[in-house]
Amino acid sequence: MSQAAAAVETGIHAEHHEDLNFLHKYILPLDHKIIAMQYIFTGMIMAIIGGYFAYAFRMQLAFPGELVPGYGLVGPGEYNMLVTNHGTIMIFWVAMPVLIAGFGNYLIPLMIGCDDMVFPRINRLSYQIFLVSALVLILSFFVKGGGFGGAWTAYPPLSSVAEYNLTDWGSSLWVLAVALEFISFLLGGINFVTTAMNARAPGMKMMDIPIAVWFIVIAVILFMASVGPLIAGAVMLFMDQRIGTTFFLPSGGGDPLLWEHLFWFFGHPEVYVVLLPTLGIVADIITVFSRKKLFGYKTVLYTAFATGGLSFVVWAHHQFIAGIDPRMANIFVVTTVLISIPLAEMMFSYIATLYGGSIELKTPMLWALSFLAAFLIGGVTGIYLGASALDVYFHDSYFVLAHFHYTFFPITIIGMFAALTFWFPKMFGRMMNETLGKIHFWGTFIPFNCIFLPLFFLGLAGQHRRIYNYQHFPDLATQELQNIRIFATVSLVVMLLFQLVFVYNFFVSMFKGEKAPDNPWRANTLEWSTSSPPPHGNFKKLPTVYRGAYEYSTPGREEDFWPQNVAPE
């Protein structure tokens, strides 16, 4: 085993000295940095598709029956397809590839001070399977009958019987795409954990690993431990669809509740799988821009372990009123509400980190702080939904929708922008424009709240989800509620327009931006000790680590930072 690993390593070292052509450098890369960018760019393209879908169905809600500019008429079937695939894309093809696969790939080797992933070829294969899965998903929109429209949770029998969902091949390709995507991240996950545990620079002890790396590793372990049941479920669903088995069909002795358990056993840890990388990224950013040591490094780390562990025993809170035994709900209420304990502790530690700091509100810091603020709303509203008796009213309402957008939007979009603006100088060797960055920040964060805060009130008024036109529900078809819908939609359009500022800033800075120094933010972690962008092989000389990642403003030093690789005098 170790001999094989050694052989692979020698293989990489041999390649470092070759001059690579375009095909091998950018299309079939083994370099973790290029694979990371493949993931990030693919994720961003998928984010554009997901945002476009959101635009189309929000326009239909605000102006029912009107032709949506740039899309056309959104009928009931298309509406279902749009909301289903918006959810699927944003979670599986944006949050996962950008935060875990993308930044995981980019940051793990650089932050732990090694030259590449331990298994570069598995890494490349993982991306290739991921790309195929994205193409299969896109293909599913164009087959006869259209894309799958049975919600991203895909409850059978709706998802398993073509006569019920009317999208025969659309639903099968959807399941296939999701299963392929999971296989891709399983491969990637093995690689991440192995690399972080075995390939650290000399001197880097477990408690010297930056929180960002720790949290990505924990997230990947959660993912690998929870995804098995869902892959099994996806295979069963695919067989129900294509060869007529009846795993989930009561008339054939199956049970639709089985899928719900398999799905949510994965589905809830999945929330923490995408949450933890962002929390890790935010921890690194706030320490750098407040020049402070992270408050209670070990506490933060242990709360992440506790959150991850608890996340495996809360899944049935999605099923309080799904027909499970009502007595079971009480147990899941307890475990669900308990999750507030480690997460509150973590939140307190982050905010305590700001205390006594020297805070500089650069764009990445704005994103990181706004993540804490927005995620706080998402977190506290989760308490309502963890209480089973309130779920009797809020199940599948806009209150749920607003709640999880207040968690997923900060995690995915804010987390992505925080990470991109922070590591952009390292990735491309140039600085982003700070003014445009701030315009983009405020142009995203304010409309984001204008979209989703009003939706809480629609939920309180009893509005249920996934309805293409509320005309069939007279209590919901009032002008007051319609005005709220229009306000949310207009805010969404404003927010989408401000993304053009980012696209402009991103690409212009990539080629024409001011040249970035090696360590523009004066940060401690190892990726800042190499050149910007790092060469193939990352470090000219592999670094040695002398201390933890958060030695900022250490007493007795003139500089207010102390990089991990600088030897003590």
Partner: protein, 259 residues
């Protein structure tokens, strides 16, 4: 707080509204505290030239108490939330109070069928009253329902009652409600059930004793006019998707013309 947005019209809807209020007070306190600290620290500890940040490891007891004491308070408040919730939940979902009437609710793509057991209180007998998308009940009487689904998962939802329950194909799920206000309200399907999910609605009409008897007579002699249709007609609904009739949308036109 919920009752500010929507009428509270069943015996347990007030409990749910109160639970919402209790949780709002608790998490509102935490939200203001934590958000306030976040904003205050951000403003107070802005970078000043020549001032170095404090060096705090957060590992000494004198420091950790700032996160640990709030942490214990969170645990205490969690216990309050869990206890309050379990009391309400046991009352709504785990206990069935003695029934006055029995109905069967059947969800199918994309309509609701209601079977009232009638005066004998037994389903599948000659005095059953069957209606589609229209449920008539008497105020202040306890109803037991048997919830079924013919094809896919549906969700029987009556927002004014604060009632939602999934209907699973292959199972019969029992539940109850007791209306406290008269009037006509929305019934929704709150679980994605396919193409026509957006039109799967209905009306529940809560009657006084007299008007209930009158309606039943009308249903029996055929002079009955659907309350669901009446509601859709009198309240000004939103513009319809059916104004464009070309191509793939014709199915929606067909569905809308049925209901």
């Amino acid at each position: 707080m919920i009752e500010y947005f929507i009428l509270s019209a069943s015996s347990f809807s007030g409990d749910i509204d109160n639970l919402f209020l209790v949780i709002t007070l608790i998490i509102g306190f935490w939200f203001i505290l934590v958000f306030g600290a976040l904003v205050y620290f951000t403003l107070k500890f802005r970078r000043k030239d020549g001032v170095k940040a404090k060096y705090i490891t957060g590992e000494k007891h004198s420091e950790t108490k700032w996160t640990h004491y709030p942490h214990y308070a969170v645990i205490a408040m969690d216990v309050v939330i869990i206890a309050a919730n379990i009391i309400v939940w046991v009352n709504i979902k785990q206990t069935l109070p003695p029934k006055d009437n029995l109905i069967r609710v059947i969800g199918q793509q994309w309509s609701w069928s209601f079977v009232d057991a009638g005066p004998d209180g037994v389903l599948d007998t000659a005095d059953d009253i069957t209606t589609v998308n229209d449920l008539h009940v008497k105020v202040d009487e306890t109803y037991h329902f048997e919830l079924q689904a013919r094809d896919v998962i549906h969700n029987f939802s009556v927002p004014v009652f604060r009632l939602r329950q999934d209907a699973l194909p292959g199972r019969t799920i029992k539940g109850w409600f007791k209306p406290t206000n008269t009037g006509s309200f929305d019934i929704q399907c709150a679980e994605m059930c396919g193409y026509g999910h957006g039109i799967m609605g209905g009306a529940i009409t809560v009657h006084t004793k007299e008007s209930y008897d009158e309606t039943i007579v009308q249903i029996k002699n055929g002079t009955y006019e659907s309350h669901y249709q009446k509601r859709m007609g009198t309240k000004t609904p939103l513009p319809s998707n059916t104004s464009h009739t070309e191509g793939h949308n014709s199915f929606a036109v067909l569905l809308a013309s049925i209901f």
